[in-house]
């Protein structure tokens, strides 16, 4: 199979790697680069556990994206959100609203939330729920996740004031 030499900037650090054409971004992140905070839940684009951000705020499913197509792009995973030990406001909102149980969906949910709030800083509850479609959580019934997103929206707009 054809191999590609690519460069990814992951959480601000530049990484060179060689990937076969069919290598997914998820596998490249987890297995080649050790970013195991990006999770495999289904491999078919249904669950959102593999969500990462591209070039800041666009969320994509790592399991549906070929690594080779991401050459030169910047990728953010959950491990790259905290700054000097301070959690990102979205992460803090997930903790404060008890929105984390088993935590397997959490990295993807947090990243998805960042992209939802980037598009729409003050979403309604229905818009939040719509935005979270495609991100499965089997533990929380989504109640506290929705509350966390609302809280994060308040915190972020507070910051922007």
């Amino acid at each position: 199979m054809k191999k590609h030499a690519i460069t990814l900037t992951v959480n601000g650090e530049e990484r060179d790697l060689i990937v076969p054409s069919n290598r997914t971004l998820l596998d490249a992140l987890r297995d080649d680069l050790g970013f195991t905070d990006t999770k495999y839940g289904c491999g078919t684009g249904e669950c959102g556990a593999c969500t990462v951000l591209v070039d800041g705020t666009t969320s994509i499913n790592g399991c549906l994206t070929l690594a080779a197509t991401m050459d030169g792009r910047s990728i953010t995973t959950a491990a790259g959100l905290a700054r000097d030990g301070d959690l990102h406001p979205v992460q803090q909102a997930f903790i404060d609203n008890d929105a984390i149980q088993c935590g397997f969906c959490t990295p993807g949910m947090v990243l998805k939330t960042i992209s939802i709030l980037d598009e729409n800083p003050n979403p309604s509850e229905a818009e939040i729920r719509q935005g979270l479609e495609g991100s499965i959580c089997r533990c929380t019934g989504y109640t506290k996740i929705v509350e966390a997103v609302q809280d994060a929206s308040n915190r972020l707009s507070g910051l922007g004031e």
Partner: protein
């Protein structure tokens, strides 16, 4: 209970920082030097077949392949992946008839995805490429997907010990007449003014925990078998693997990794035996086995589906005189815990209402479906779907309000619980019903939704449940806990209880801090290593807080007692005359006489002799607390759900508008944790009622073992949700707490079904209640009238 400092507070959970940054290590995230990868070859052509030839030679030649293993290359011992056989006495095991009927690999394939062989290679990709080179030929065998099919006299027998393919029925020795019963059912029915009766179907729901099965095993240089797994039951899996591979327990170590959801799917073993068998074949090399979602679906147990018949008799005034029921479940290909659910399904039925007489029969039949086992609620959601619909049918015919009927006839303190002879010692179900009714506006809505005519019709329904906190006295309940008091007056609590994500390590730490009178931050819960931790059954049956918490409480009380004894010596006072506040032990009524826990702890570790008089300074010996705890009861929680739905009479679509869940939780050690259990349980309960089912075609090929085709409630499907925590302390629970891990899934099932009945006037007898089934039922009703 005085002022509680930590218990009852919404403290930050112990694990959320690691989880929110992605630092938490689940089994798939663990990477070891020299790691090899396993791939299991499964049969996806047939659900029932015999392997007539197996050729591994081409696969063995593939690049990167280290070893290829067929059925003869691994241990020939059979096993039972479940652990129920370890929770009962040897005598009881014989009575129940639990058997070992699983093999690592087999040439008699009994379900879609059964295992034939495996490849070990240097990478996942190499293992997968080699797996494709394995050549198998099969002899196709007849496929039995239901109990009705597999019990036919000419059906091929799954196991010689289980004639008629009946894996289990309630054994005569423990249940005379093979029934769980009280009273004289036939006689009682003769006193009934009217009877309701029907046969229902309950579905094969899947846990769908977000983390698919991932395992690592290493047979190391000390000839120890190490296994990394996110099992719910580290200590029982340790013993199971020791038995299977004929090793002493000292040579088996489970490294319990962070669990990405359990809900019963990881009760006992899943692919630990296969992974360990691969590792034993390549000593010194770690082997990783990662189940794709589709494989995890077929290899971990589901809920037990099956036919559930029930009959109830009432007097005109509503008095419930008799209940008769039979659940024949479609067990799947292997025995696993055929005995457990077949019993408990009836136990939850028996624990609910004051029928004069009750009789329940539970039977498990082998089928060519993937295995069934534990799933949150363990038979209770099935019973809720059937029992609660029949009660509402009765109430409708009697013209009695369903909440009033339930308040009048549910069992309560002093009545036998799910286990006869173990009476309830607390019950706040009336308060649950009253508060839920008030919160949703039951009376007004119930009146308003009579005689609707439009396309969209609303309905409101109620259901109640009883459950348990641990499985005592049917099953062993035991947790060992050690508390190590450090010289800086902080404490490490060492035990084997796992946290499936529900928050049990957090609540256990709260219990410890409260008993020790320490800050939450001064206590650490250490788990995950079966070398160090004493016995624990594992996370199941809503037991971890109730039993594990009981153990933690007792072990911390042991520490306190030792501190007080030492303080008594130092202060030359009677221990009974001392009290502790902010880590200082004082003499009652003498404010100047005190000693700090810090001093006592430090002197215990750093103990020196006074060089002047040769006497020891303080009391030597590091303080450790210990408990080997067997709970005195099972503190059943109760709960009620009221659901409101809107049904489209033209499309059959059901929209769930609101759920109010009111639960008697004893004491909420951490309200956020409890709410989380009710929220998450409700999502699964709604799924069981309305959307979730694993489908097979007539050849037994599974049609939806993936998130693509298995429909769960998503964020926008979820209704408005209100949780009401009724705190009525149980006399036996730690700080009055009861288990709530499973309760949340149960009553949403019956309440949703009853709300649909209220909206459309017909009952749907098969779960899940899909739009097609609603339209069909409406059509049948129209034809009749």
């Amino acid at each position: 209970m005085g002022d509680l400092k930590v218990v009852g507070k919404r403290v930050e959970r112990v694990d959320v920082r690691a989880k929110v940054t992605g630092g938490a290590l689940y089994a798939a995230d663990v990477q070891l030097a020299g790691m090899l990868y396993g791939k299991i070859i499964r049969c996806y052509d047939y659900a029932h077949a015999r392997v007539t030839s197996l050729d591994l030679s081409d696969a063995a030649e593939c690049k990167g392949v280290i070893k290829v293993l067929g059925p003869k290359d691994v241990t020939q011992r059979e096993y039972n992946a479940s652990v129920l056989d370890m929770m009962v006495s040897a005598d009881m095991r014989g009575v129940l008839g639990d058997i070992d009927d699983q093999s690592i690999f087999t040439d008699h394939l009994k379900h879609y995805g059964d295992a034939i062989a495996a490849v070990i290679a240097t990478s996942e990709a190499a293992a997968e490429r080699a797996a494709e080179k394995i050549r198998v030929t099969y002899e196709e065998l007849p496929v039995y997907l239901t109990a009705e099919a597999s019990k036919q006299p000419d059906a091929l027998q799954f196991r010689p010990e289980k004639p008629g393919n009946r894996a289990f029925e309630l054994p005569e020795m423990a249940f005379p007449g093979n029934v769980y019963a009280w009273g004289e059912v036939e006689e009682s029915f003769s006193e009934a003014d009217f009877i309701v009766e029907d046969t229902f179907y309950v579905s094969k729901q899947k846990q769908c925990q977000m983390e698919p099965g991932s395992y690592i095993a290493l047979y190391d240089d000390q000839q120890r078998l190490n296994c990394w797994t996110s099992t719910q039951m580290p200590k029982l899996v340790q013993k199971k693997l020791a038995n299977l591979f004929e090793l002493p327990m000292t040579r088996v170590r489970i490294n319990a990794t962070v669990i990405g959801g359990g809900f019963g799917a990881r009760l006992g073993m899943v692919l630990e035996p296969e992974t360990c068998a691969l590792a034993m074949a390549v000593p010194g090399r770690p082997v990783k086995l990662l189940s794709p979602r589709e494989e995890d679906w077929l290899t971990s147990p589901s809920r037990h589906p099956g036919k559930y018949w029930m009959k109830m008799g009432f007097k005109k005034d509503g008095t419930p005189v008799a209940c008769d029921a039979k659940f024949e479940n479609y067990k799947g290909a292997y025995y696993v815990d055929a005995s457990g659910t077949a019993f408990t399904t009836g136990a939850w039925l028996g624990g609910m209402y004051k029928f004069d007489s009750l009789r329940y029969r539970g039977e498990s039949y082998y089928t060519n479906q993937s295995i069934c086992g534990a799933f949150r609620g363990y038979g209770n959601p099935q019973t809720n779907f059937v029992m609660e619909q029949l009660v509402d049918r009765g109430c409708t015919q009697l013209g009695i309000d369903p909440i009033e009927w339930r308040k009048k006839w549910h069992k309560t303190v002093g009545d036998d619980g799910w286990c006869m002879g173990v009476p309830y010692n607390s019950c706040a179900l009336d308060e649950c019903l009253d508060r839920a009714a008030e919160a949703i506006g039951w009376t007004e809505k119930r009146a308003k939704y009579q005689n609707q005519t439009g396309v969209k019709r609303r309905g409101i329904g109620v259901a109640v449940m009883n459950h348990t906190s641990g499985a005592m006295p049917m099953l062993l309940e035991h947790t060992v806990c050690d508390v190590l008091l450090h010289q800086d007056a902080t404490a490490t609590i060492n035990l084997a209880c796992s946290d499936m994500g529900q928050g049990s390590h957090t609540t256990l730490r709260q219990v410890a801090a409260e008993v020790l009178d320490f800050d939450y931050d001064d206590v650490h819960i250490a788990t995950g290593n079966t070398d160090a931790a004493g016995f624990d059954i594992g996370a199941h049956a809503s037991r971890t807080l109730y039993v594990g918490g009981g153990a933690v409480k007792q072990a911390c009380e042991d520490v306190r007692r030792q501190l007080f004894d030492r303080a008594a010596l130092e202060l030359e006072e009677d221990a009974a005359n001392l009290y502790m506040e902010d880590k200082i032990i004082h003499v009652k009524g003498a404010s100047n006489k005190s000693i700090s826990v810090q001093t006592l702890a430090d002197q215990g570790v750093n103990n020196f002799m006074n060089p002047e008089n040769g006497e020891l300074i303080g009391q030597p010996g590091q303080i450790q607390g210990y408990a080997s705890f067997f709970p005195p009861h099972n503190a059943p929680p109760f709960g009620a759900t009221i659901a409101e739905v809107e049904v489209d009479m033209e499309t059959g679509e059901v929209k769930v508008l609101e759920l109010v869940n009111a639960h008697d939780v004893g004491k909420a050690i951490h309200p956020g944790v409890v709410e989380g259990q009710l929220d998450g349980g409700a999502q699964q309960g709604l799924g069981m009622a309305l959307t979730e089912e694993t489908y097979f075609d007539e050849k037994g090929i599974c049609l939806n073992n993936s998130f693509t085709d298995y429909k769960m409630f998503g964020p926008s499907d979820m209704p408005k949700m209100t949780n009401i925590l009724v705190e009525n302390p149980d006399p036996t629970g730690p700080f009055g707490a009861k288990g709530v891990g499973e309760a949340g899934i149960v009553p949403p099932v019956g309440a949703t079904a009853n709300a649909i009945f209220n909206a459309i006037g017909v009952q749907i007898l098969e779960a899940p209640i899909t739009p097609e089934k609603i339209l069909k039922a409406l059509e049948e009703k129209a034809n009749v009238s």
